[in-house]
């Protein structure tokens, strides 16, 4: 498809195996940090919503917004259409707000944050010092910088490179801070892409979201560095409900990365996030996720239930968005990063790798809503199933009557490892004009014994061989990731599939 070409980078696939070996061991981030926490009382009520709002020192309009969402939510039913099954979630039997005690008095900068909390991120390989580091990959002097917002349970610990970003006019801070410091921007855009009434989990989030990131890129500014948010769930029996709002003004550009991990626990934990992206005329946003929540054990005990609503609105002409996701974690994944292609000539892309091993269940995909003329979208989905896992691609491509001369290309590949797992593809296609074109290609294959033997006869062990073959299968998507994430993602692909053969 012209105009929506893959950017091919050299060296994305180099050093796969060293990285894999460096990250040996099954779930690497399953440890917990021992800190004293302040919890809101268990369960969800109007009082809890008021308490979260008060903790964040919010203005009245924000509280009213939350309460409206809460009152709507109590009348809503949990959706059941996804191809996932799990025990009923008791929404009154968990905590909605957990904050380290040391954060009671807001630290002025990261230097004042409890060293124990900072050590958590150091152990995860996330740089909170203002160095050019990400995900344990040490970059030599002079390489790209990455600004980080570190969210620990319900609060943001702090954000790096704020001053340097401010020089360029970029606002990058926690959403709670944005509500206080930039209410006019938040008020204008929050809920404008994912309304508080959108769906059960988004409405829940609207009522109880505690923190998350806020990004504003002013007109014509190319963000001088990559921005990232790193979500860590630490507290037990606590849900994480973060909300991210990114506004990319006319002619601006930003690349944003998101990472997530959680400790190993036998009791499942709920994660219901909302990400809203507003993209104005000629602006472009790249949003990349490496989702590595705890997936539960081999028998499906524990893990994160991940119910996430992510949506980008290409609100004006020639706006562009690219979602890239590597989904390796979570017991349950329910996630459909979507693009509303409202502006004429706007473009949406979605690249996804979803790996489900052992007893994991993933139901993920995208929605491409073509509203403007000559809009283009591209979907490349790579689903990998192993163990007893079930992996579903669910995608909607919708061409509205006004979206004349629009194009979509969808490629949906599934790879099976072993004979007890399942792959499902559920594409929905609606075309309501005569001049648009939609293409859908789908394949399903198994990891080939001959390929594995060929690799092994050259000296690779079975897991290295699987990692290599699967990374090859995912190549189109890995190439779409920023370099630092691509390395981490390749390693994760290998780790997620450990024990899937033999």
């Amino acid at each position: 498809m012209d105009g929506v070409e893959l950017e091919v980078r050299d060296g994305v696939d180099r050093e796969t195996i060293e990285t894999v070996q460096a990250m040996s061991g099954k779930y690497k981030h399953g440890w917990e940090t021992d800190v004293e926490m302040d919890y809101a009382p268990k369960g969800l009520s109007e009082d809890i919503v008021r308490l979260i709002s008060a903790k964040n020192e919010e203005p009245q309009w924000m509280l009213d917004w939350r309460l409206a969402a809460y009152h709507r939510w109590v009348k809503m039913e949990e959706p059941t259409w996804a191809m996932v099954s799990y025990p009923k979630i008791d929404y009154q039997d968990q905590y909605y707000y957990a904050k380290p005690k040391s954060m009671a008095v807001k630290p002025k900068s990261l230097d004042e944050v409890d060293p124990k909390l900072l050590a958590t991120y150091a152990k995860l390989g996330i740089p909170l010092k203002e160095q050019a580091l990400l995900a344990g990959v040490e970059a030599p002097e002079g390489e790209r910088k990455v600004a980080v917002d570190a969210v620990f349970d319900s609060v943001s610990l702090g954000t790096t490179f704020k001053k340097e970003l401010a020089k360029a006019g970029v606002i990058f801070c926690s959403i709670s801070e944005a509500v206080r410091e930039h209410p006019e921007l938040v008020k204008k855009y929050i809920g404008s892409v994912v309304p508080p009434t959108d769906n059960f989990f988004a409405t829940l989030n609207s009522a109880v979201f505690s923190d998350g990131s806020f990004v504003y890129i002013p007109p014509g500014v190319k963000c001088p560095m990559e921005l990232s948010t790193y979500f860590r769930i630490n507290a037990e029996n606590t849900g994480q409900f973060e909300r991210t709002l990114i506004v990319c003004d006319r002619g601006a550009y930003v690349s944003y990365l998101e990472g997530c991990t959680a400790p190993k626990r036998d009791i499942p934990q709920l994660h219901a996030a909302v990400v809203e992206i507003v993209i104005l005329e000629d602006a472009e946003v790249k949003y990349s996720t490496v989702q590595n929540w705890y997936p539960g054990d081999e028998n499906g005990v524990g893990g994160i239930y991940n119910f996430v609503t992510k949506r980008a609105d290409c609100r004006e002409a020639r706006a562009k968005v690219m979602w890239t996701q590597v989904e390796t974690g979570s017991a349950i994944t329910w996630k459909y990063p979507s693009c509303i292609l409202r502006g004429d000539d706007s473009q949406g892309e979605f690249y996804s790798i979803a790996i489900a091993n052992n007893a994991q269940q993933a139901d993920t995909g995208t929605k491409m809503i073509h509203l403007g003329k000559r809009t283009k979208s591209r979907i490349v989905s790579k689903g990998i199933s192993a163990g007893r896992a079930q992996n579903t691609y669910r995608g909607l491509v919708s061409m509205h009557p006004r979206a004349t001369d629009s194009r979509n290309y969808t490629q949906c590949d599934s790879l099976l490892i072993g004979d007890k797992c399942g792959a499902h593809t559920v594409p929905y296609i609606e075309v309501k004009n005569n001049s648009s074109r939609v293409e859908h290609e789908a394949t399903t294959s198994k990891v080939d014994e001959d390929q594995l033997f060929y690799c092994r006869s050259r000296g690779m062990d079975e897991e290295e061989a699987v990692a290599l073959v699967v990374n090859g299968f995912c190549k189109d998507v890995l190439q779409a990731l920023p370099m630092e994430f691509a390395m981490e993602a390749q390693a994760l692909v290998a780790i997620s599939l450990e024990g899937s053969v033999g």
Partner: protein, 251 residues
């Protein structure tokens, strides 16, 4: 180097005997050729030696420098110095040829307790070796064997051999699907690797490959056994008279 004694092999899935008492001893630096009609068990021998699944060894042994191969995983055999050039090299979409080679080289080095090659050193070595096999930079970047011509695939096998520096090389019908020029190029690549410490087992249907890679010994295989062994002249005899006389003689 390689010592095969009374090797009996049947298919795992069905009760079909493929190798029926193979005896073969290959000394260091020697080149042996095995010839034989279709279905005689030549390719099975190469697969069993390299550890492919689907076969059951019912009797016998195969040792590489005194170590029993048949107890090892395929990757352990590779690290011990065994290499099989495949008759049909496998395609691996999305995996760059260079990545594949480097992963293989470093996996073996690691298994032997040696330090891994750095990206720079590896690149220098692979470029030099690729050049002698007339493998261009483009072929090194393309996914492993995907869209390669028959000749490119076989040259790529020899490049892998050159990079991995095995002590015992098995070439399974490396000449199949090659035109004369391609075969010559492959043979030159193999000849360049001949050395005192490296042995070869060349499996082929035809004499013509042996014009280019001259063997020290030739064995004729039929019905899962070696029925006759001799010098290079044995290959010429097959070329002129076919297998019929030899088979009758062995009956």
């Amino acid at each position: 180097m390689l010592n095969i004694k009374n090797l009996h092999v049947k298919l795992e899935e069905e009760d079909k005997v493929i190798l029926n008492g193979v005896d073969l001893a290959i000394g260091a630096g020697e080149v042996h050729a095995i010839m034989g009609p279709n279905g005689s068990g030549k390719s099975t021998l190469s697969y069993v030696l390299s550890g492919r699944e689907g076969y059951t060894v019912t009797e016998g042994s195969a040792t590489l420098e005194g170590t029993e191969l048949l107890d090892m995983e395929p990757e352990e055999r590779a690290a011990a110095g065994l290499f099989l050039a495949f008759q049909y090299p496998v395609e691996i979409p999305g995996v760059g040829n260079m990545t594949f080679l480097r992963t293989a080289v470093n996996a073996q080095r690691k298994a032997r307790g040696e330090e891994e090659l750095s990206a720079g050193d590896f690149l220098k070595i692979v470029r030099a070796k690729a050049k002698t096999l007339q493998i261009d930079a483009d072929m090194l970047k393309r996914p492993v064997n995907v869209g390669f011509s028959g000749g490119e695939k076989k040259r790529n096998e020899i490049l892998q051999m050159a990079m991995l520096e095995p002590r015992m090389c098995i070439l399974d019908e490396t000449d199949s699907g090659l035109d004369v020029d391609a075969m010559k190029l492959v043979a030159e690549g193999v000849n360049a690797l001949r050395s005192e410490g490296r042995s070869f087992l060349v499996i082929t249907h035809y004499q013509r490959l042996l014009d280019h890679i001259q063997p020290d010994f030739v064995h004729i295989m039929a019905a899962g056994r070696i029925i006759k062994s001799g010098g290079p002249e044995l290959a010429l005899e097959v070329e002129n008279n076919g297998y019929a006389d030899l088979l009758a003689e062995a009956e």
